[in-house]
Symmetry: C2
């Protein structure tokens, strides 16, 4: 055995791999956090779970994917002039790595967000997760190319960074969106160290896990910061569709005159998770040493072609068919869902106020925020809200939630938990909050840690 | 501007990214080779193309994906006891990162290859491409963890390596499979340099681009080499299904008593490319520093959860439904296709013999190999078979092919080209080879470079 060897042949005659010789991120407990949470959920099947941020499942009972595929095929034949056989081949054969519904997505972005985006500037990805991976891989090629993340954040961005060997810089979230002073200082500190922040990941509309809505002045200031310090914004818009009609703020990308924003979209919540379709808008111009220019979307497509080749055109057809059935709007596909999620969120906040009156909250040192959209509410406890407490809560009170510390890059949020309202019926929310109130009133748990 | 800055604000007020500050592999011409080839193909729409290794498109004319999805849903209800609503949710909701048809794939591998594999040792991936990315990311975490590749090779493995920043070691292919002496020397040289070859990528059954079939003694010797030098084999079995019935050699994985092989499968050729479903068998035991063991498949799943979250369960259902319709066999799904591809390959080889008689070949210094399966034939020319020659061939003779040098890691193969037979009808093959013969007889082209 040399010092490099990572495998030994045990008695059974099978090779064995040593974990320290595999990708180092695999030893990071954060990477396994979701599966650990799922394990706890599995052990308490009777508990009401505010843990998963998954879409409301009843939406799927009447879903007819064959109809949506057919609608898209008809579009290819009637609007695009393909023969029926060619239309089928567009769905079933290998296809362009950049995507096949880019024109429909560009139209939806124009209708829904007033964004003026060319189809060539869009890459259709295997969910929003692949879009994040492509952006990170392209923009952070060396250890001196830093990724900043608004903290706390979606576990997917932190996980993508870890898997790609990127150690992110945490910038604190504030009630107005992001700590711009901290961002400024981080950019200056990076340059002083011969490094550079290349991108900031941010979810301005009802972020996961906090439900924070970035206000308009902060949006403008953030774009100015991106210009001043020469970085890109990775705008994740998974939850913007849940905004009250007419009250939505413009996306960063809609405000982006300079090409500072890569917009990340997902069809998981608006259409369905099972298609694994997301997309990114990357209309930045890239210039090589010879002065030749391309779109950043083309460069990202090259990377994608070596990660997943292309996004299933069958799945793209399902999304395409849904948009076509709603006059080309993606927001219209999600309108009914947005109504339900807003109703659920109001219901959750109402139930919390009812079951946890001010006197009890004051006595137990419990509080929560009141988001205007999204799937999540953040609750502060007087004790550490870790997996041990979650298990005791599930066992004694039959209710589940997610420790907030899972979403922090820096181990903060230890006294907080996240409640998700997307997955439950109003009745389940009521009963769940009643149980949650008993948990909060349980002095054995609220004073022990 | 600091030296780190990579973007300038041009007159138009738009930010501009400098390509040298993006992922360095993006400047590698190999990464753009496929799109360059497609550009040439697009410019000559009337040419007969032996270039793309894509499946025969007529197979898709009668394909009914809705029927396959239904068949899989019925399986969930009738065989697995799910309610119809739960079955739908299995397809449309978020699902396990490791996959949902793992049990069906394990059964198919048993029926088709006599492989004894637990469902938990399988990861369902977004095509075989993602499987390669997962293996490379897990096994080559540092620059001292080398990847060896049998050379020439499928562009996807070289591209995945480049995108992940891995500089592969080329091991020459031979007519019996792989140059074992060169492999041995490469392993020893790596160790001498304080490095280690962690894996060898190989396609033993009718490799792309060479059509080489690795013989049985070489398979055994390769497994012995993997044991002796303590590395894993990444076995790509995209074309094994085209073997003459009864004459197929056992896969490396079927011979693998020790757990030295990660088996990479694709459903693109056997089912359809549009599903983007592949899979990998990774039944190796991983042991961490505390002595806790997991399956390598679980570790790969963790990485996958941060790249693409999960493979579309709708697409998995299509593949699952196809297998169920064929008594659980994947090979049976591909039987009709295998017949057609064998017929096409024979047809191509016959046409080459007819149109390029020995006297002409001798005179023009042209020769080719005679694979017994797969999609490809390798032709040697007296001149450099590069993109310039391809363009002139297309313009003068109306026939397209792929320069072999695209498949070499080391710039070799300059005098060779690849003909693919999968995409064409017998009539097109005849006419294409007649044109190809005129190209070969064209002294202007055969003596100019």
């Amino acid at each position: 055995m040399t010092p490099h060897s990572s495998s030994a042949t045990p008695v059974a005659g099978r090779a064995q791999l040593h974990k320290p010789a595999l990708l180092h991120a695999l030893a990071d407990p954060a990477l396994g956090a979701i599966s650990f949470l799922n394990e706890v959920i599995d052990r308490f099947p009777q508990a009401i779970s505010f843990a998963p941020g998954a879409p409301f499942a009843k939406f799927f009972d009447d879903l007819d994917v064959a109809r949506h595929i057919e609608r898209y095929e008809r579009h290819l034949v009637e609007d695009k002039g393909l023969t029926p056989a060619r239309a089928k081949r567009r769905l079933y054969q290998y296809g362009p790595a950049q995507g096949v519904i880019n024109d429909l997505l560009a139209r939806a972005l124009r209708i829904d967000h007033g964004m003026d985006v060319a189809p060539e500037a869009i890459v259709v990805t295997v969910g929003c997760q692949e879009a994040m991976v492509l952006a990170l891989r392209a923009l952070c090629p060396t250890p001196d190319d830093l990724l900043a993340i608004v903290n706390p954040c979606f576990v997917g961005i932190a996980g993508a960074a870890k898997v790609l060997g990127i150690d992110p810089v945490a910038i604190d979230e504030t009630s107005s969106g992001v700590d711009l002073g901290a961002l400024d200082r981080a950019c200056i500190a990076a340059r002083r160290d011969g490094q550079r922040i290349r991108a900031l990941y941010v979810a301005p509309d009802f972020s996961n896990p906090s439900g924070t809505l970035m206000d308009l002045p902060t949006r403008h200031a953030l774009l100015a910061a991106a210009r001043a310090h020469d970085f890109l914004l990775l705008e994740d818009d998974a939850y913007g569709f849940t905004a009250e009609s007419g009250s939505a703020l413009p996306t960063l990308k809609a405000l982006d005159a300079e090409g500072r924003v890569i917009y990340l979209g997902t069809c998981a919540k608006i259409c369905l998770p099972g298609v694994r379709v997301g997309f990114m808008v990357a209309d930045q111009e890239v210039v090589d040493e010879a002065g030749k220019t391309t779109l950043l979307a083309s460069e990202l497509t090259l990377i994608k072609s070596m990660l997943t080749v292309n996004t299933s055109p069958i799945c793209q057809a399902i999304v395409g068919g849904m948009m076509l059935e709603h006059d080309g709007s993606l927001a219209a596909v999600g309108r009914e869902k947005a109504l339900l999620y807003r109703r659920n969120l109001r219901h959750l906040l109402d139930a919390l106020s009812r079951h946890l009156p001010p006197a009890l909250c004051a006595q137990q040192h419990v509080s929560w925020n009141e988001p205007q959209g999204g799937f999540f509410v953040r609750v502060r406890l007087p004790v550490v809200a870790d997996y041990a407490l979650l298990e005791r809560c599930a066992a004694r009170h039959g209710v589940l939630w997610t420790p907030m510390s899972s979403f922090f890059l820096d181990g903060a949020g230890r006294h907080e938990l996240r409640l998700a309202c997307s997955y439950l019926t109003p009745e389940e929310i009521d009963e769940g909050v009643a149980r949650f109130a008993r948990f909060v009133a349980d002095d054995k748990l609220m004073r022990s840690s």
